[in-house]
């Protein structure tokens, strides 16, 4: 079932798949070919990772002409976060993660 939290955690428990999500976060709406560029993975491996991300509903896609464009879908991650993050904690956590980002720079995985 696509609403399964287990599928989301399994999909995220892999550095290559997180890298693909980072790339879509950087530039949304990419084809498989674009996503493969500059990666140390075969096209088949990227396609397999994308299907696992799609199954977990972390990646959505749209057809545009002959191309299949992939989009990051953050909704399941938000659902997991809302489950444990209360409304009163949110501003404090946001301030903390902004501080962490400033101190460490934008690149973190």
């Amino acid at each position: 079932m696509k609403m399964n939290d287990d599928a989301v955690f399994r999909a995220l428990a892999d550095a290559s798949r997180r890298q693909l999500l980072d790339r879509l976060h950087g530039k949304n709406g990419q084809t498989l070919g674009e996503l493969c560029q500059g990666l140390d993975m075969t096209r088949q491996a990227v396609a397999k990772h994308l299907s696992i991300l799609e199954e977990a509903n972390l990646v959505s896609w749209k057809r545009q002409g002959r191309e299949k464009l992939h989009f990051i879908n953050p909704v399941p991650i938000n659902e997991i976060a809302e489950r444990w993050i209360g409304k009163f904690e949110r501003p404090r956590l946001r301030a903390l993660s902004e501080l962490k980002r400033k101190l460490e720079g934008e690149n973190h995985d």
Binding site: N28, N57, K62, V75, I77
Partner: protein, 149 residues
Amino acid sequence: MTDAAGTTFVYVTFIRTTPEQLWAALTNPDFMKKFWFGMHHETDWKAGSSWRLVFPDGRVADTGEIAEIDPPRRLVLKWRNEFRPELKSEGYSRCTVELEPLAGAVKLTITHVMDRAESKFIEAVSGGWPRILSNLKSLLETGSIAVSS
């Protein structure tokens, strides 16, 4: 998508409900306030009619038009920001809401497009949608919302 063709996001959630109930939740002003941070739509839900998104205090957040409407399957809104000049100057975006029944659930897809690269408007609304969709899912499946702020 951030190339010459424009800026797009596609958000998807699966909600254990019926298309009819989900459609009612999306278009009923009182119900909508429960999951959209107190805001509501003002429109008569007819193709070609004007549409406004209104803050709890009555200020108008966004305006536009019902471009297409096909209950309980599809809604397309022309959508422009009204309260931040740098976003308003980008003009109209296009928001497509699609409901697709699956076994025991409805696949809800929100596609929001602005015909310009690096749209600030799309960046602004893309942060709000996941929280709105989580609240909506939670409200329809359990009767209470996840976040109210």
